[in-house]
Symmetry: C2
Subunit: 235 residues, 2 copies
């Protein structure tokens, strides 16, 4: 299942602890690490396989990737979606906790694990920043645990849409970079439930669906109430 990877230098690809760094800390590492190896991959290609030993650290330059875990019969949990500026493979554990797959044609910069460790050695403040990044990721993961463990399909969908929208505005347009299947596997639902829920949101005037990639949030307040579970017994 692990596919080859279009790498500019050599064909090997592997990474690590998977602490995707979000925007706030984007530049920190790249400045310290200097030049890495540019790597590209095609949609569907596997960059990293779960449980592989960790050899590299990656930073996404363009395109989108998904982090996921899976079990025996193919069930899959999409942990997160990463895009430009996000990182993964920062190590704290020996083996990859997730597989990483390209969702589009992607470009990444790859650094050897030793390079990163040397940089940490050279600049101790780097470790602190990595720690903060990891804490933010942890917070995200825990919010997702609440979503997966205790929210209804409607609440999951609303939470997901609002997270994609991020900067709060009145009429938000959300552009989906992932398929319905990816969304389903991220929210612990089936593709049909995702589709049905979106359709019902549209009928109820919560959103518009101009096309398959875009969603217009019409009643953000209502969606927020839904996401927070405040409309528990409502139609």
């Amino acid at each position: 299942m692990a596919s080859s990877l279009a790498v500019h230098s050599n064909g090997h690809a592997s990474c690590d602890g998977v602490v995707p760094g979000r925007a706030p800390a984007r530049d920190d590492l790249s400045a310290l690490l200097g030049i890495g190896v540019t790597v590209t991959a095609e949609p569907g290609q596997t960059v990293v396989v779960e449980d592989d030993p960790i050899d590299h650290y990656y930073r996404v330059v363009s395109g989108t990737v998904r982090l996921y875990q899976s079990i025996a019969d193919g069930r899959r949990q999409v942990i997160d979606f990463l895009s430009e500026g996000d990182c993964f493979g920062l190590t704290g554990v020996a083996r990859h906790p997730c597989s990483v797959e390209a969702m589009s044609r992607i470009t990444m910069i790859r650094y050897a694990r030793r390079t990163v460790e040397a940089a940490i050695e050279a600049d101790p403040s780097l470790a602190r920043r990595l720690f903060k990044l990891a804490c933010v990721e942890l917070q995200r993961a825990r919010q997702q645990m609440l979503l997966l463990g205790r929210k209804t399909a409607d609440e999951r969908m609303a939470s997901f849409l609002l997270r994609l929208a991020e900067p709060d505005g009145a009429d938000q347009v959300v552009t989906l970079t992932m398929s319905r299947l990816d969304i389903a596997d991220h929210l612990g639902l089936t593709i049909e439930t995702v589709s049905r829920t979106l359709s019902r949101f549209r009928r109820d005037g919560l959103i518009d669906l101009p096309n398959r990639q875009q969603i217009l949030l019409r009643r953000v307040g209502h969606l927020k109430a839904l996401a927070e579970g405040e409309l528990a017994g409502a139609a």
Copy 2:
């Protein structure tokens, strides 16, 4: 809902980023931080409230606590159970991502946030260790996401039992420090489903239930297969 806390010095209590450190790194911090303030709490008392600003770092000395998140109508997701040697409140974010509640009479050592930050300043290697701790936590959180998003009730229960057992042996005795309700809220199930699942496991010879607090694992291999989702279509 936030209750007072029996604190030896003053009555204030609050903490932070919640990176519970597991056994491997237990001693690291305490050695560096020196003496903290001893704090005790009674069963059911709230030590930290979600979204509170983070002021302290805690280390559990005795007893058990639960970390959880909750939403409007009282639904609750138990993130983790912490016991002797585990830590929480290591900061990387400004506000508590979880509430923390005592499950038994507990003793903790509390350090001011500044103390911890000064220690990090003094010994840069500390940040690296914190980072690794956070990565381990992240890995746990992600495994739980897979469990919550994609596993059946049986698989969740089996996974949970095996995680409590940890050091693999033939006939493992697991002692539960938490109620059925806590288990349910950790596994994203109801108390009834937890109870029914355990009863069925007993009928099927997978476990014994000598009393309400103890579980004897009889067929560990079978439980493992269940936990990994390898018995997807079996009775």
